[in-house]
Amino acid sequence: MNTEFDPKNYRSDLKPVWCPGCGDYSVIAAIARALANLKIRQENVAFISGIGCSSRIAAYASTYGFHGIHGRALPLASGVKVARPDLTVLAAGGDGDGFSIGGNHFLHACRRNVDMTYIVMDNSVYGMTKGQASPTSEADWCGSKLTPEGPSIPPIQPLEVALAAQASYVSRAFTGDLAELTRQIEEAISHKGFSLVHVLSPCVTYRPEQRGYKDRVHQEWTPTSNRAEAFQRLLEDDGFATGTLFVDPRPPYTPMTAAPASMAEIEADFAI
């Protein structure tokens, strides 16, 4: 009867729209494994995403899901978790969704520390809209007609920003290492507070050179709770170090509580 927690059960039967070879296939596989390993029942998971190739992922899980709008996965997910603390809440999306249009929510989700896990599939490109530069594209990446000589802006450093914004869990994985990716997702879900899993997830269509990521990534980080050390690691980072970068055990956000009162008691305030 153990089959209830079989990773297969966490996949929906909807066929992904993704290109063959897209890194995102590994991410849905890893999520399914992580949920199965953690024995979290499908119906107790809310999986929220934005818009982009990667954001299609919510519909490929058999949990409750919400494929929302571009850039707003995090506040939608926060709303779910604060209203229903009993649910396991996952949010996911792309580098454009999360760091470009969604950058403000990313900043504030880090500091708010609502207990949920955010998985960003970073391919340094807008896949869904056919290949424009994203905030993590190299300043001189000339692959888009919108920026034919490159965006001319240094790529954003998502982990530095997360750390500066006081995220309590930060890690980086690569879709080519399913075991480590699964491990990080499990660890992130188990972490009490906001957890960011930054996933290097190649776009084989608009960034075919990312197939070479497998030769560049290196397992590097083991968890530290020391911010200075975590910053130091990032200052030395080549962008391909993987592992758990930082864990801060501070308690997650909880809204204010008060002694219960009846409606009549509440209304009494208005009486003259």
Binding site: R41, Y64, I69, G79, V82, R84, N104, A258
Partner: protein, 586 residues
């Protein structure tokens, strides 16, 4: 013969405390068994600038400021021209001025009121630590015929949290002010006796006590009654008090309020909370609503119930944040991209915020739709003494499937258009909500059939719902109809009284449900009407245009529209109803 109501204004520069005086006066009126309404008007300074408290007090519930102001007590003249439009004085008004504050300014003199000089500041100075606002309060209270003990109670209630010393000094100053009233009354006896018919204590001081509250607080309570247990907030004038009230109340009933980083976040949090099964809302005003429209479209497509209360202020853009207008009607009705049927309600007055707040939540939950509830600054930030309103007994129920429904279709094409909505945690019904067009299963679809079916169903559920009688508040008979919504309802009702008194029978139709427009009901309500005045507080006649887009008037249509910040006066409506000058016709 005692009056049935009067208007009175208190003005003064920063620090003079006229708002506090106005507040206590309204409370004292309530404690005297009267009803009342108080509007605050402020200068542009962030804090401590000049201000005006404008009150109307009477023996019946008040929801309009009327046409003229009987008495103005001016503690000083700082920037009085800022309020000149809002305090309508004429030859029948009395202005009480402090001779030590210099000449009465031309903007006041031009209106030819009677003027009585009282050395307000000097009187205050007779009491060590005495403040001039208590002199003004005393004067006003005495002219209104309030019992000193009752006013003292109100002072205690208002200032008691400071110190007993402050209260004692205030009471002493109050008495000095009341004492000065005799001279004033003798100077202008016809005006200065404001005493209203009933000044018995409020009925049944035990159980059935009247309420004194702002429209924004009333909205908060209505929405709480509707069952909302989650609110995400971003402050904005003049909606913040809805959120502040809920911040205090929600935790008491097991709910939560979260302050978000912006309105994009707050509305998405609300969508998330509601998706998770908890009735959810937020409140905002024009600029914030603008930021929410994309997500409201998501809520339409993904069929997520929620309420956004939009407290309208002067527009466009940042506009006039502290003043009222009804110019967000267009965006509330039509501001969503794509074909996005949803519901728009409007509260008719402060008391009705209780009903409309509750009803809006019920509609949202019953139809799984976003509801935009419109109120406005004139209603939201004003305070009124009202008869308490019981919560409507109607339950808020979301249609849910049974657990383990085989082949569960979240967006099943049903006759009613409403499909059972599974709540996370329910076994065997997991689905993915989507803003992409989808099949009944919720799977993304670009097929013409699915698009048509889902568009039909989303439109049908809104059209087919049984809204009962609540779609409008209607009273009166006659061939002239005053058609309006929001805080102009009280003004229209007052105009109707005047017209009736002149032998012109009129009906007042105040729409509470703006969208969908109940065309059949409206047609019935307009049966026998020859002339319809469409009354609204905005520049481009948004209400009229909307009505015409959806409804074929048989009667002659006259527009009675004016932008903010000064409210439309009953007399303007009376004039428009009886002449042809003001508006265009159909």
């Amino acid at each position: 013969m005692a009056k049935t109501c009067f208007s009175l204004a208190l003005t003064g520069s920063g620090g003079a405390g006229v708002m506090t005086a106005g507040q206590i006066l309204l409370d004292a009126a309530a404690r005297s068994g009267l009803y009342g309404l108080m509007v605050r008007s402020l200068g542009p300074q962030i804090r401590g600038g000049e201000s005006a408290a404008i009150l109307r007090i009477g023996t019946a519930p008040v929801s309009s400021l009327g046409d003229t102001c009987s008495v103005l007590v001016a503690v000083d003249w700082g920037n009085i021209e800022r309020f000149a439009d809002e305090i309508p004085l004429d030859e029948n008004s009395l202005v009480i001025a402090d001779p030590d504050q210099g000449e009465v300014p031309p903007v006041i003199v031009a209106k030819s009121p009677k003027i009585a000089f009282v050395p307000l500041k000097a009187l205050a100075d007779t009491v060590p630590g005495g403040r001039v606002n208590m002199i003004a309060l005393g004067l006003a209270a005495a002219l209104a015929g309030f019992d000193e003990a009752v006013v003292a109670e109100a002072i205690q209630a208002s200032l008691g949290r400071k110190s007993q010393e402050v209260v004692d000094i205030s009471l002493q100053t109050l008495r000095a002010g009341m004492g000065a009233a005799t001279a004033v009354r003798s100077e202008a006896p016809e005006i200065a006796d404001l005493a209203c018919g009933c000044s018995a204590p409020a009925p049944d001081n035990g159980k059935h006590r009247r309420w004194l509250l702002s429209g924004n607080a009333a909205t908060g309570l209505g929405i709480l009654r509707g069952g909302v247990r989650y609110c995400a907030a971003y402050p904005i004038t003049p909606a913040t008090e809805v959120l502040e009230w809920l911040a205090g109340a929600l935790p008491k009933v097991g709910g939560a309020l979260v302050q978000a980083e912006d309105e994009l976040a707050s509305i998405n949090m609300v969508v998330g909370g509601s998706f998770a099964g908890i009735p959810s809302m937020t409140a905002t005003s024009g600029p914030g609503l603008s930021l929410m429209v994309e997500t409201l479209g998501l809520a339409v497509a993904a069929e997520i119930p929620l309420v956004v209360c939009n407290v309208m202020r002067g527009g466009p853009s940042t506009g006039i944040p502290t003043k009222s207008e009804q110019s967000d009607l267009n965006i509330a009705l039509f501001g969503l991209h794509g074909d996005a049927p949803h519901v728009v309600t409007a509260a008719t007055d402060i008391r009705d915020c209780l009903f409309t707040g509750q009803w809006s939540v019920q509609l949202a939950e019953a139809m799984q739709t976003p509801v935009i509830m419109l109120t406005d600054q004139a209603m939201g930030q004003a305070q009124a003494v009202i008869e308490p309103l019981e919560a409507s007994p109607q339950k808020t129920e979301r249609l849910v499937p049974s657990e383990n429904t085989p082949n569960y279709q979240r967006y099943a094409v049903t006759n009613s258009g409403v499909s059972p909505m599974a709540i996370p945690g329910m076994k065997g019904c997991a689905y993915t909500a989507d803003g992409l067009e989808h099949s009944p299963l919720g799977r993304p679809s670009t097929q013409a059939r699915d698009h048509q079916d889902q568009l039909d169903k989303r439109a049908r559920k809104i059209e087919a719902h049984d809204y009962g009688d609540a779609w409008a508040d209607i009273d009166g008979e006659g061939e002239i109809a005053l058609l309006t919504f929001g805080s102009l309802t009280g003004v229209a009702r007052e105009a109707a009284e005047t017209l009736r008194a002149r032998g012109v029978p009129v009906r007042v139709i105040a729409l509470r449900l703006l969208m969908p427009l109940r065309t059949e009901d409206l047609k019935r309500a307009l049966q026998g009407v020859r002339r319809v005045l469409v009354i609204e507080q905005n520049h481009s006649r948004q209400f009229l245009a909307y009505l015409k887009s959806t409804f074929d008037f048989e009667a002659e249509v006259v527009s009675c529209a004016r932008p903010g910040p000064v409210p439309i006066r009953p007399q303007e409506i009376v004039t428009a109803a009886t002449s042809r000058d003001m508006g265009d016709t159909k």
